[in-house]
């Protein structure tokens, strides 16, 4: 089982859109896939029309008082399940901080999912704290959507610096360009490598597209209502690249 955390310190970078589309692609490829919505805003849960509620809250889940399997919901797509968001996750740092041996608990929790899933996508909240640190330690890859702007590049530097302290247990960091608008000079120049990124990005980039925004109205992955469109193909290409990186 591979755990892929979708994360950026910065919000609004197309993180949930990436999680949803990448997970949908993985399921289409025959992987039994789970999305764990860790963002208290519950955007991923919203996209799949699943009630953003986990019985007992995040605390119960982490302390394994209740099997996560009981909270998992099937999406409308075969092979793709969702562990919904819960509003209690807004205190995730506090909960993790108060829990004894949170890393070990989280590892055990994830281990229980191993038999059921090949692929788990974590839709992480845009923050940096104890919780993210623990999540990074269980992830195989950290997929970082990055808007090609100077500020985003700086954020990537901070993430790299933060991960440096983790030594051996750090996941593979896989940044990719998100919401790329080729009409903008800055986007174009960064994407074309004129400004070197602290970590090499993946080849696939997601274009800025109204189709991605329409996911909110359709409440579905892009490929289901705009198959073959540019963003749909871009997400597929991105998914394949991540899979190749992890194998």
């Amino acid at each position: 089982m591979k755990i892929i955390a979708c994360y950026n310190l910065k919000g609004g970078v197309g993180k949930t859109a990436a999680t949803v589309n990448l997970a949908y692609h993985a399921a289409q490829q025959g992987a039994r896939t789970l999305i764990w919505d860790l963002d208290p805003q519950g955007a991923a849960s919203f996209y799949f029309r699943v009630k953003p509620k986990v019985k007992g809250g995040f605390d119960t889940l982490l302390k394994r008082r209740r099997s996560p399997m009981k909270s998992i919901r099937g999406t409308d797509y075969e092979g793709l399940d969702l562990l919904p968001a819960d509003f209690s996750a807004r205190h995730i740092d506090l909960i993790v901080d108060r829990t004894r041996k949170p890393k070990r608990r989280l590892k055990r929790l994830v281990k229980g999912l191993k038999k059921e899933y090949d692929c788990v996508f974590l839709d992480c909240a845009p923050s940096i704290g104890v919780a993210t640190e623990v999540l990074f330690q269980i992830a195989d890859a950290l997929v970082v959507p990055t808007i090609p702007t100077t500020l985003s590049v700086n954020t990537l530097k901070r993430i790299k610096k933060h991960l440096k302290g983790m030594n051996g247990s750090a996941p593979t960091v896989l940044p990719f360009f998100s919401m790329v608008d080729r009409r903008k000079q800055l986007h174009k120049s960064i994407c074309e490598g004129e400004q070197r990124l602290p970590i090499d990005p993946l080849n696939a980039s997601i274009p800025y597209s109204s189709l991605v925004e329409q996911m909110g109205t359709h409440r579905a992955p892009v490929s289901t209502f705009a198959a073959g469109s540019r963003p749909a193909r871009a997400y597929e290409q991105l998914g394949e690249e991540i899979r190749a990186q992890l194998n």
Binding site: A27, G30, A31, V50, K70, R73, E78, D81, E116, D118
Partner: protein
Amino acid sequence: MIAPTGDVGRSSAVGTDPDAERHYALASPALGERALELLRARFRTRDDALLAVTRAYYDTFDRRLAGEDAILCRTLEDGAHSLRLESLSGGLVRRLATPIVPGFAADLPRGPFHDAIAPLIDVRRLLQLVEITGSVERASVLDDRGKTTVRLSFEQWTIGSRADRIHGADITLLTATPVKGYGKAARRVCELLEAELALHPLPPGALLSVFGVAPQSAATPAATRPAITRDMRSDEAIKRIYASLLETIVANEEGTRRRTDPEFLHQFRVAIRRTRAGIARLRGVFPVRTMERFKREFAWLGSVTGPMRDLDVHLMELPAYEAALPPEARGDLEPLRTHLELSADREQVKLEAALESERYARLIKSWRAWLRRPVPMRTPLVDARRPIEQLARERIYKLHGRVLKRGSKIDDQTPDEAVHDLRLDCKKLRYLIEFFRDLFDPKVIKQQIRALKQLQEVLGRFNDFSVQQIALADATHEMAEHGRAPLATAVVVGRLIETLRGRQQQARDEVRGRIQTFNTPDNRARAEQLFAPTAPVGTE
């Protein structure tokens, strides 16, 4: 065991999981319409699609998937093909959008779907069990957020492909599939259907039987052990052994001819080889002239079936070859696969011709007639009337001695031919012991076979790697002759041959140690106890 992505199980009085998929066989299509109407009236539903669907179910001839509660289904829906690995007791395990027709595991694209199926079927070929065509009307039961909680499908099937609707027996099904985590909604739907329309769900795993697929097919047609006793006359006992081998040959003939699965040809050939080993090692029991003729004819049968088996083995080795190469070079093996497949198609034609030939028919007929003929009361052949136990011990003992002697002469400098000769002797010894294993103490004979097997394993490996190198070299040579050998392919094959040479050497280095392990005082004493002749050798 395969776990479907169903909800956490709960058992009910009828023994069915209430959260698993339920199929209802309906008496008429009208009943299905009524059921949908009823559900539309009581729940929030959405009509999804009405599709023309073709489904074909696949498993290996020995039902390896069914043994793991699984089945593979190839569907054509809305112009798109996909493969679905399903749990027999209901529910999807994995799905892959691909137009590929199932065959061997290696035919599937690399990925989680391949990885789930490959260990289940191993080297077997997936065969179509049944094909059904029909129309599927899909609907969803929704919750107040518009989220699907139960998938419904109203299916009208005909057995057979669209072109050949032979059976004409129409089957109407209503299927309710709960979405994980929404078991309560599914239970309400099913309760309503069962209460208002008096529907009964099919028992779990019974879906395929509705389409006329028998729950289990005939098991592998491998050899059955002939009934022989210690004091049986040798000629009588040996005829029984040959007769059971003949049964195996005949049982695998059809599968070999139709190339259902490589296993049929393999079993076919093993039985031939055993028969030949028997004829060669159990001389003096039957008239020489009779046996000479059969020996010649079985040798012919062995030689005409050999090339196809070699190609089968080669094709089965391809995934291992690929794994030995770096990922970027794997595609370069494709021309080799194509070449091997073409050669196999050609060889199969020859093999079929051989099996349909007069010569083959005559051999089987005369061999069977001879086996059925009662053994003569009086015979000038001394060994014919000796108790089989005596003869068996004598022949095994002699061959065992030869294996030990040959083995003791082998060191790291001995030419490879001597190792090959030892391998062949070990093989014959193994066949002899297995012919007569019922005459010995089962526990002790098992230990003896195990010891021999360990020696055979390394000798087999040594031989396989050597054969593979030659076969690869031959294949590239042939490809070059036909102008089908791209440089990249020649390069990877060259690399593979190097790897195989290394592995062969590794096996060669192990040979001496294994011989020593086989030739321990314990093993020798056990062989002595088992096989040393009880009566003076060669006389009665």
